[in-house]
Symmetry: C2
Subunit: 602 residues, 2 copies
């Protein structure tokens, strides 16, 4: 494979510097953050923001895709002394869809021996949390989540509606441990993914987003997929799911995981189906189990498992407008119907837990019966499955496994909250992880927007992670630009949700950007935005000259009409005339303010 | 002016045909709708959708921009016998910013004598409604709003949460009259805009959207602005505001109105300010009044009037993060402060009403103190102004003038509903017309999305019209593509709101599209979407061949994994095996369904 196919996007974002915070309990940990420097005229410190981009935006780290990322967690895991290196499962021809020669994606050059829990031990973050242990992963998360909180505490009153969440003023490592122990948060962190920078998914933490990548039988390659992963985290994806369904699945996944600082999720059923030639009814528990072990050894951090699609649920979908739209759900439904047997995922769920427990693979319990249209939202099939997912959550928890629950789908706005409420109720507050939801079906090509609306709302209501939707949803495979648009849209939804929940420090970035806007610090406005490149290029389309980036007006109004400039004049005049005194007089009901007649049509 | 600068976009949308429905009370009216034909294999009638695009999408109408559109309302207005043609105000050099020669946009070639109400009569739709008269405009609106309702009535149960609105199963002309009479809806329809196809703005009608166009001192031309208007209504803008602030304002507006089948709104203050050389403190009531008459005679359908920015409110903005961001608001604030006098708009409000009453120009009471940042949302300045707008609503209503109320701005999600609730309360249910609101400040370049989220929500809560925001907001002037993205985003928000409110027929289009999707009728899926061109081109990027548009799979999964195809297999199998019988057994609590343990963490 020629080296030039293995280039990925590096370099910091504009005006940004990666900084690292050490731990206290675990002084060796280095928690990455991004500092955005402001213009000296602002007289403000840099704005520190959450940074999911990994070493790729750190000019001090040299990136070589063929070697993979540094492996900081290796020490932490070894220090626990509860794992041992294995020979591991040998790669088989069916793992890569029986391709060979030129069509075979080469194996990742460095093969590490996989770790596994020693004789039946639980090596999950949940097990440690329950045992009262604060792991380095937990402290890492605590520091990571606290961005700006100390600053915010002094500066602002908390505000927001959190619908019963318990967001603390300050995140302590003990708080993280407690949330994980209660099952209200997960830290997806396979022991075979030491390249990971730990993160938490839970209602009392920042709302996270996931980006999907993956090749398909029709199109795309390894180099493209690695770059899509790097590109997605550059713009803010907190986790990445590799949904590959074509050939070379095993090898492509290896390249992705060895280069991923974020948790990687998969749907093992897709690869299992490839192994049986794509014929759903030929799937067996043995093939599926083998695939779980294969992927757990590679370091997959969470598995979507569609164990909630039970034989008895399938008839509930028969009169739907769009039937079953989840691939995993439809595969299992077909298997159940063909054999007229209960799902092997459901029947073997405890064994699946034993595997997840041995590697700390988190569950993402799949919503195989999620609605694929407005017409099918919140129907009997969807909610029957959700109840089963609640049942499975208890089983997984009993096995010390970390669990989150997948959710819809297509849901009109007035039916969104019922999803969140029911999920909280039947799944014991396990984190909810939703796709959108899409709030209308009529805009293919814009489903990042139809779903961004639903995502912001359900994030506000309590969803812990939002799975992105790109403009290509329903139409084609997303390219690099679609991935970026999807990620930015979902960062907007997640941040809007954080603001509305009253996350203590969420508004700091909004305020810094708004001050920059008001003070005509154009460069600061661009640099503080989610996508500085686009903001800058849009500005330059109308007013390309450098001079205009220091101008005290903008292209919308021109110099004479600028409302912001007039506001500055007002403020100046107010200082002269004593506007505060005027305001006081007003507040005391001075004669300037006329009493208002009560509206007649009330 | 060379003819080739005056081309606009015509031709129907794909698979679409314009149809017209006649009135019953007023048999002469022809209400346009768009029928989208489906593939014969669907076995379904065409889907009829609301059509704001005017004659431009009608191949039977020949379009000549220099002649303007046909004037169907001229007869209706004449028949009322309460107006008379005037000499009209002569165009003055300051109307076009004192430009001349080559820089002067030529006057529109055909100048009609302006109509005005005979001696003090009220010629507003509100006056007629109160008098019990169902005008052709009202019947036009009733027919237009009823799309699919007869069909829906038979097929579906109503569903949704309308927060106290009163959406009827079927819209009768009498219902329209009553809503207008109560002030809960307006039909913006200047007697000098006979080219108009009437539409209603009100909480009990479909949610509407507005697109802004307009030149600025920095950039753009007449031909561009006319095409932007045509382009905006092609994609679904229900009204268009001409926010021009540069030169040639008068003449450009003439070209726009004479070619506009939708209501045109303006902010007369912008032109008045041009007339006094851009110096806010030089504004006078006389200049403003003259501008109102000038624009009323041209046919502007609604005026944004910032009469709620009172002297006493200005100090309330002094400690804001972003001061006053409304141009009109900042101009009036500056004027008030400079003269230390009450606003001339407020003091002369009754005289403004008299002008509006004589031409039926609707009020859009401007939110000059809307928040420009998350930090400033729902503050004292904003709500003090809103209360004044409620007071002014009563005055306008007493003068038989139609009124809507403008709203924010930048508002985090948890503070949106309070805006709607307060507006309903203090403005006597006059229609609310909001800009967004933007739910976060951190995404310049994507503010169609930050605001689309807020727009969908506030539309659901009861806002009658949503003012679009384009990707260029805060950064530059929107081009043609930005206008389209803004309009489509807001059509999504409006439709999502209609669905959530439980509009009786809103879901018909979603269902038709979803059936097309499920049945792999790709062309139907494209044609039923808000933007068929984009949907088709996104599909073709991955699977360009014609054959793939009839393929029973798509690019996301490829042939083996397609969940929709598997769902079809399931349905077929179900028919064979008697899935309905299985479903019945399930519903009766048959042994297949296991009892669920109650979640522990509740």
């Amino acid at each position: 494979m020629p080296l030039d196919t293995l280039q990925v996007t590096t370099q910091p974002l504009p005006a940004s510097k990666k900084v690292f915070r050490p731990g206290h309990l675990h002084p060796g940990i280095r928690v990455p953050m991004r500092e955005i420097a402001l213009h000296p005229s602002a007289g403000e410190p840099p704005v520190t923001v959450y940074d999911s981009s990994g070493p790729y935006t750190d000019p001090d780290t040299s990136i070589t895709i063929e070697r993979g990322l540094p492996r900081p967690r290796a020490e932490w895991i070894a220090a626990r002394g509860d794992t041992e290196a294995q020979e591991g499962r040998a790669v088989r021809p069916e793992d890569n869809g029986f391709v060979s020669g030129d069509r075979l994606t080469p194996a990742f050059p460095i093969q590490h021996r996989p770790l596994k829990a020693k004789n039946g031990k639980a090596v999950t973050q949940l097990a440690y949390a329950r045992a009262g242990i604060i792991t380095p992963e937990m402290e890492f998360v605590a520091i990571r989540e606290n961005l700006g909180r100390a600053q915010a505490k002094a500066a602002m009153e908390r505000d927001g509606e959190d619908f019963g969440a318990s967001i603390p003023d300050f995140v302590t490592p003990e708080f993280v441990r407690d949330e994980v122990a209660r099952g209200r948060a997960i830290i997806p962190a396979n022991i075979n993914h030491p390249e990971l920078e730990p993160m938490a998914i839970g209602r009392n933490f920042l709302v996270k987003i996931n980006a999907n990548i993956g090749n398909s039988a029709v199109t795309s390659s390894m180099a493209e997929e690695v770059e899509k992963m790097v590109w997605a985290i550059r713009w803010g994806a907190d986790t990445v799911m590799d949904l590959s369904t074509g050939r070379n699945i095993h090898n492509i996944r290896d390249w992705i995981i060895r280069n991923a600082p974020v948790p990687i999720g998969t749907v093992p059923l897709y690869q299992a189906l490839e192994k049986v030639g794509g014929v759903a009814e030929n799937l067996t528990w043995e093939v599926f189990r083998d695939t779980l072990i294969e992927q757990a050894e590679q370091g997959v951090d969470y598995f979507t498992i569609h164990a909630g699609v039970r034989l008895a649920h399938v008839p509930l979908t028969a009169s739907r407008v769009t039937g079953i739209v989840s691939r995993g759900g439809s595969i299992m439904a077909k298997w159940c119907l063909h054999h007229h047997r209960e799902s092997f995922l459901y029947e073997h769920f405890e064994e699946i837990c034993d595997i997840c427990r041995a590697y700390d693979v988190s569950f993402s319990l799949g919503d195989g019966l999620r609605p694929g249209s407005i017409a099918d939202a919140n129907d009997a099939a969807q909610f029957a499955e959700l109840e089963t997912l609640g049942e499975l959550t208890q089983i997984a928890w009993a096995k010390d496994c970390q669990v989150m629950i997948e959710g819809p789908g297509h849901v009109p706005m007035h039916k969104i909250k019922a999803n969140m409420d029911k999920q909280l109720k039947v799944c014991g507050e396990a984190p909810f992880y939703t796709l959108g939801p899409l709030t209308t079906d009529i805009a293919p090509g814009y489903d990042h927007i139809t779903s961004g609306i639903g995502a912001a709302m359900i994030g506000w209501f309590g969803t812990a992670m939002l799975c992105y939707v790109t403009p290509k949803e329903h139409l084609g495979l997303p390219d690099r630009n679609d991935v970026k648009i999807g990620v930015i849209t979902y960062k907007i939804a997640a941040h809007a949700a954080d603001l509305a929940k009253g996350h203590p420090a969420a508004q700091l970035r909004d305020d810094a950007l708004s001050r920059a806007r008001f003070e005509f610090r154009w460069e600061d406005q661009f640099n503080l935005s989610l996508d500085p490149d686009t903001a800058r290029s849009f500005h330059d389309e109308t007013l390309p000259k450098e001079a205009h980036k220091v101008a005290h007006f903008c292209s919308m109004c021109g110099p004479k009409f600028c409302s912001m400039r007039i506001s500055h004049d007002i403020r100046a005049e107010a200082q002269k005339e004593g506007m505060e005194a005027m305001a006081k007089k007003y507040r005391e009901g001075g004669g300037l303010y006329m009493p208002m007649p009560s509206p007649a049509a009330e």
